[in-house]
Structures are given as C-alpha cells and as structure tokens.
Symmetry: C2
Subunit: 503 residues, 2 copies
C-alpha cells in the first residue's frame, strides 16, 4: 500500500461527495420514469437542473483542478489510486472543456429537438425533425472542437461513451465485420425462412404479474442482488445507479413474453456489472463500470449468449410452462428455434442478434458521413433506406420505421451507436474465453446455475471498475485484441445447425 | 402590487432553490420508506447528510442574512412578500442558532437513541432506553438555551412545531380541556361498554388490493389530486412533499379495514392542505402549510369529523359492501357505532377520538415535568402508569404498551405532542364554523360530495400557506380564539345519542 497522500485523501473525499450527489440525481431520474406523478414534471426538471449544477460546480472547481494537477505527478500513488486520478481527470477535462453557453444551448436544443422528433414521428414527417437534427449536429461539431481530437471530430464524440477508442480503430474493426456479416445475414435469414418455424405460441395472453414473478426468479438466479437493487416497470428499460443501489427496469407485454423476458435478462446483465465492483472502491472511478462497450458486452452476453441458448431453456422452459400453462405443449427445440428466429426487420430494438449489428453499422456510417458533410441532413432518409436495402434487403415503408426510429440523435447522442456492436463483439470473444477456461460451463446453465460464469465475470471484468479501457480489457482477459471472428463464428456455430444450413 | 425590490427578487430565487433541494430530499426520504432496497441504507444516509448540509449552508449563508436584514426593513413589500420574509427569517434564525457541534451531537444521539429504543422495546426493558432519553433531554435543553425563550425552555422546543405559541398559552387551553375531558371519557366509555356493540365484523379477511382500490376512490372523492400525488405503502403512514409533488402513504391490514381506511383519509387531509396552496406561491413560505397544529386540524377534520360521521357512511357503506361482500349484512347504524367504539386503551395511535387527547395531555405534561426536573428520567414509567390510571382508568401491563410506545422522544421530538390536540380542537371549531356558513354541508357527504367543504378549507386555510399562525388563523376564520368547548360539544352531540347517554 502506498503511503497516504494528504491530497489524495482530500481528492477522494470530494470524488465521493460528487458520487453521492450523482446517486441522488439517479434516484430522481429513476423516480421520474417509474413512480413520479405526471404533474410533477416541471418541478422535477428544476430539481435536476439545480442538483446537476451543484455537481458540475464541484466537479470543475479550481480546487479540484489543483488537486488533479498535483496528483497526476504523484509517483507515490498505488495502481488503484492512479486509476482513480486518471479517470476522474478525464471526467474533469470533459466537464471543463465546454463553455457554459454551449452547455446551455445543448440542453435547450435537446428539449426542443425531442419535441420535434416526437411530432415528426406522429405526423410521419421527417421535415419536422430535420432543422433540429441539423442544429444538433452543428452543436455536436462545436462540442468536438472544444473537446479536441486527433484525426476527426467524431473521435471527440465517441470518446464520451467509449474512451481511448479512436474512430479509425472502430472502423478497422467494424468494416471487415460488416463485409462478413452481410452475406451471413442473407444466408441465415433465408434458411430461417425456409425452416417454416411455428411461432404461433409466442403470442397469446400472458398475465403480467405472472411474468413479473417468473422474470424476477430468473434475474435472481443470475445473481442480481435485490438487497441492493430493484426491478420496476418503465416505457424503455434501463439500468441506473451504482454501489449499494443499482436498479433495473423492464416493460411487460401482455401478448408476448419476449420483450419483458429478454429486457430483464439484458438489464440484469448491466446491473450485475455495476453490482460487481469492489465495496472498498464504491463511489470512486474504480467502483463503477467503464465504457458503454464493456457494459453492453455484459448485457448481451447474458441476454443472447446465455439467455437465448439451449442449456438455459432446458432449465427454464419447464418452469415457464408451469407459470404459463398455454405453453405446456411447446417442445424445447421448437421454443429455442422460435426465440432465435432470424429475419431482416426495420426496428433496431426488435432485431434478432444476427441482423442487429447491421442496424448499428448503418447508423455508425451515417453519423460519420453527416459529420464529414458527405451526407446532407436532408438526404438522411434516402441514404438510410438505400443502406437498409443494401445490408438487409428491405426498405422501410416510412421514416418512423426508418431514420426516425431512435431517440438518440434527438437526444444529442451522436457517437453512441457503435458501442452496441463493440459490446456484441466483446461478448462473443469473452464467452469463447469462458469456454476455454471453464469447459462445460453451459451444463450449469441447464441446472439454473450461473455462479461460475458470474464469478468469472466478476473477477475478470466487474471488479476492475474503470481500470481498463475496452481494448486493454479485451487483451488482458482474452489474450488478444478484439476480433470480429469470435462473433461471426458464434453465429455460424449456433445458426448453422439451428436452421440446417452450411455457413 | 408593490414595486419590485431587487433584493426581494434575489432572495426569492434563493428561497426557491432551497425549496427545490428540500423537495429532492423529501423524495429521497419517501423512497427510503417505500421502494429503496434494504442494503442501500448507508449510502442513502450519506446522500441525505450531504444534501442536508448543502441546504443548511444555503439557508444560513451570510448573503442570506444580509438580504433578510435589508428586507425586514423594506416597507415597499406587499403583504405576501412580507410573509415570505417573516417566515423565512424565522427558519433562518432557528437554522443559525445552533452550533454545528450541537447539531452533529443531536443527529448522532438520534441514531443511537433510536437503536436503544428499539432494543428496549424488544427486551421490554426501559432501562436500555433510559440513558439515551436522559441524553436527548439534556441536548434538547441545550437547544432551548441556544434558541432562546421567554418563560421556559419548553417554549423554544414547542415553537419548532407550533410557532408563536408559548407553553403557557397551550397550558391555558389544555388544562381546562383535560378537566372537562376526563369525566366525559369515563361517561362515554361506560355507556359504550354497556351498549354491547357487535364488533365482530370489523375483523376478517380483507383483500389488500381491494382495499387499495376502494381507499384510492375515497381519497380521490375527497379531492386529493393524483396528478401531483401518489398513495403508497409504508410501515408508518405519512405525507411528504409540497407544490407539484405531495405524496401520501398508508398501511394495509389484511384482517382489519380500519388502519388502512382511516390513515388514508387522515393523510389525504394532510395532502389536501399541501396541495391547496396557490401555484404562484409554490416554493416559498406562502406556498407551504403552516404549523403542525393547523396541519393536524385538517387531517383530523377529514378523518374523524367527516370520515367517522354518519353521512359519509351513508354513501360509502354500500360501496364498501360491494368491495367486501363479507360486510354485506352489516346495517349502517351498527357499522357507524362499531367504528366509533370508545374504550380506554394503552396505545395512542390506536385510540378512538374520545380518549385520544388524554394520551396527548399525559405526554405534554410529562415532557414539561421532565424538562423542569420535576420528574426524573428513571421515574418516567411509574409516572406514566400512574397518570394513565388517573386519566383513563387503566394501567399498561408493560412499558412497551406504556412509555416506550412512541418513537418521538427517541427521535428527539420533544414539544411535538401537544400539536396533535391543538389540531383536534381546531378541527372541531372549524367544523362548527363550516356548519354555520354552509348549513347542511353534510348532506353532500352522503352523496360523496366534498367539494364545498374542500373549497371552504382551500379559501380559508390552504391558500394562505404560512400567512397565519395557529391562533391568528383560528380567530380569522372562526371569529374567536381557540375554545375547547367546540370539541367537547362535538363529542357530546355525537356520542350521547350514539350510546344513549345523557352528557
């Protein structure tokens, strides 16, 4: 243990205070999406703005700047302490980089833009959103200039969600991936179609309370700790909080088990990551999850690799049949096939794991083309549709099922999308490693036992908090850099036999 | 409208910010009692402590002191503005009066004391709590010295809950009240006993979800606004929040409708008061409820005068019988008698409205005797039991049913109890006025119509926020000072006919 630096102690005290205030903010956001009375919206906005202001003030204070400057040079810090300084310094840099006027304009634009996006969707009229998307992109370019970048403006935006991951590195991963994926998607979806799988039982009447009870059991079995977490209902599922309070949400569909089921498993995957940091590091960067790409690797590993796998359903199908007797005659292999159906579709969040990444790649490419001026804002719908046809072979009948489907751009989230695919790729690569180090781990899934997998993830990933970046982590844990072939092979191995096709 | 004072504008801006932060704190407290995962306790305590510290800092800042000093002399303020200055100045004075070390000692003592109280109850051993009660009382004496008082230390404690209400004034009301109440309680409870009312139907199996639905309807009928409120479950029912977010809670007993039913009506009474301030005054003293005594007058008026009255049940009994078919053979007059049963009992919160105030008077007297050193801490159980025998004719079999029953003293709430009785007295006096100004208002209750009553309360009380103190308000609204005879006569008029006794 390093000798204790007085400055470090003061620094960590301030960092923890900021974390507690951020937790209070998370709480207010959680409440807003779950239980808040509808008429409270304006008051809540004021509370959040005020508290965010207090957090921003504390994060960017001169005293904080001085402490960071001193600590960056302090060679007496141990490794964990150095990580805390490095990571908080990055947050500090981003928080101080933007002039107050730009921050204000961004947040004002955000609410008008969200409103316009809603109207555009309602009226199926992209033109209503176009000027706001234009403004958002312009502001995001300004943000990039203030943050600074090496190669291209997109770098500065991407790094907010995926630190130390330049655009060209992401491109170097995703472009060859796309080239392999497009023909694979075509083959698998053709075979899936020809398999004429009976999917009729997937829709019906499924009591919501019975869903809640059953999904809660699954989430508990996975290891999600309800002593310091909750599962509630929101329109869009999410995970929020850290340390002793990590809450997940889902939505239930009375006619279809899948949305609730897989969003529960997905969010619990996120939740397990946040719950898996070490107690001694709580409320410091070492005690929270790193980037979105790593986060998504956890949620996707549980949702797709585990939760859509045969062993998982060997255990859970009989249990589900007890909870929902209408399913009692569905054989295991048919159920497994039906929940793994592959077909090109318009809506990203409803896409299967095979086609999903093409939705992302389309957005990743389009975002950069817009930023570089290669695609004009007015051309977005046309380019979107053309690319959909090229990658997935289908053309959205309208923009609500096309370029107006995601809230991200209206919300100012540019550079966010690629982290979904980075997560999917990492999940596959991690799982290959899991199988090497713990052969037969999936036999446990068939008994509802996930502790070995969770233990492995805890040890290799969760406990490290923000110690490693995406690529570091990948190398450290799997022994090599990210490689899309793990995911490609995962698809081939799973979907070839499933739909009887040579891949 | 007064000309706008620059200082006043700045002042109100700061006052509103403090209100928003306090609302965020209320939210955290609400969450803690309703949905917070159990393992989060320690983190939540840190969040609350930090945010409370920020609020305290802002409330007591030098700038705030300077603004208040200037505004107190500003003759250009209109009446509402002057109320805001006067009321915030009182909050400021209390907040600045206590040295930080004392505040810290109080809050530390509070948690140890609560813990000791819990243990003492579990082990039925007052001795475990005795040293902590002693310490609490000593600290409260110190608080009183710092706050300052005219006649006696109790003044300084009482004014936290009931401003501008000296102990001797409360005594001048409550002592004659007790002298009239003790013999009345004896007469009524004797008659009630002799009436041999069948109460068997009050206990049974009452589905909790059906309770929730039925009570929610009642609360809605009363006028409680769910657009800016909620009804949830907690161990101890309470009302929290202000302005656009006023939440109430209740508890359901599967075996007995009464706890849930009457706590819903009671808390909705509190909630209506907070929801009844004027939107233009939100987040300022003019936009929140005044003292606990006034607050309790509202909750008690709804709970007892309205909710335990015959007209109310004329409307709701048939509805309740639909929701709970087991009650379908209970005649209205029997139901009305059963829910108004009077009998001396040990536990304050379970007491009927006739005996209830004797529980309070006992505590009010005992608190002052302890503060004055007339009763030693070690003598509390004996004095308690002796007083119970004198006032109610019964002796608690143990201290859990005696002096250990309330959390208040463990929590440091000394001077709080008398506000319950002040509320009861005011409720009766207000209702007499209601009946003078709107004769036959109760015929509306028999049709589930409460808008005239609520409108009256809104206009006379709610809209004024913190404009009037307890006695001012009473005089302003009823035309005379508080007079216990309104309550005494209310009891005589209701319970004489009910149990066939001349009172």
């Amino acid at each position: 243990m390093a000798k204790k630096s007085r400055t470090y102690e003061r620094f960590i005290e301030k960092v923890k205070e900021i974390s507690y205030l951020n937790q209070a903010l998370s709480m207010l956001r959680w409440d807003q999406e779950t239980y808040m009375p509808p008429g409270t919206v304006n008051d809540r906005a004021k509370q959040v703005a005020l508290l965010s202001g207090i957090v921003h003030e504390r994060m960017t204070s001169k005293a904080m700047g001085r402490m960071l400057a001193e600590l960056k040079k302090d060679r007496s810090l141990d490794e964990d302490q150095a990580v805390n300084v490095r990571e908080f310094a990055r947050d500090f840099k981003r928080a101080t980089a933007l002039p107050a006027a730009l921050v204000k304009e961004l947040s004002e634009t955000e609410s008008y833009s969200l409103d316009a996006w809603g109207k555009a969707r309602k009226e199926m009229n992209y033109k209503k959103f176009e000027p706001w998307l234009d403004k958002t992109i312009n502001l995001k370019c300004k943000v990039a200039e203030h943050i600074g970048y090496k190669d291209q403006p997109y770098d500065a935006l991407l790094e907010e969600y995926e630190p130390m991951m330049p655009t060209k590195d992401v491109e170097a991963i995703l472009t060859p991936f796309r080239k392999k994926l497009v023909p694979l998607v075509a083959k698998i979806s053709k075979a899936a179609k020809e398999a004429r799988v009976d999917e009729s039982f997937l829709t019906g009447d499924f009591n919501v309370e019975a869903q809640r009870i059953f999904f809660t059991e699954i989430v508990k079995d996975m290891g999600y700790d309800f002593e310091r977490g909750r599962l509630d209902v929101t329109t869009h599922p999410f995970t929020i909080g850290e340390a002793l309070d990590v809450r997940i949400t889902t939505r239930y569909n009375e006619k279809d088990l899948r949305p609730g089921l897989f969003s529960c498993i997905h969010e619990a995957g996120h939740g397990l990551y946040e719950q898996g940091t070490l107690a001694k590091n709580y409320h410091t960067p070492m005690g929270v999850a790193q980037s979105l790409g790593i986060h998504e690797s956890q949620s996707r590993l549980w949702e797709n690799v585990v939760g859509r796998g045969m062993p998982f359903w060997k255990y859970y199908l009989p249990r589900m049949q007890k909870a929902f007797p209408a399913l009692c005659r569905v054989p295991l292999d048919l159920w497994h096939k039906a929940i793994n159906m592959v077909r090109p579709s318009f809506i990203r969040v409803e896409a299967d794991e095979v086609t999903y990444n093409l939705h992302i790649l389309l957005r990743f490419e389009l975002e950069r083309e817009i930023l570089e001026g290669k695609v004009k804002i007015s051309e977005v719908p046309a380019v979107w549709n053309e690319r959909m046809e090229k990658y997935l072979g289908i053309v959205p009948p309208d923009d609500v099922q096309g370029c107006l489907q995601d809230v991200h751009w209206a919300f100012g989230l540019v550079g966010y999308f690629p982290t979904y695919t980075l997560g999917n790729l990492l999940a596959a690569q991690l799982y290959d490693k899991v199988q090497t180090e713990m052969p037969g781990v999936e036999y446990g899934f068939a008994k509802g036992k996930f502790a070995p997998l969770l233990g492995w993830l805890r040890q290799k990933i969760h406990q490290h908090g923000r110690r490693y970046m995406y690529l570091d982590l990948c190398r450290k844990v799997t022994g090599s850099t990210i490689d899309e072939d793990h995911f490609i092979n995962y698809l081939k191995k799973k979907y070839g036999p499933l739909f009887g096709v040579q891949l």
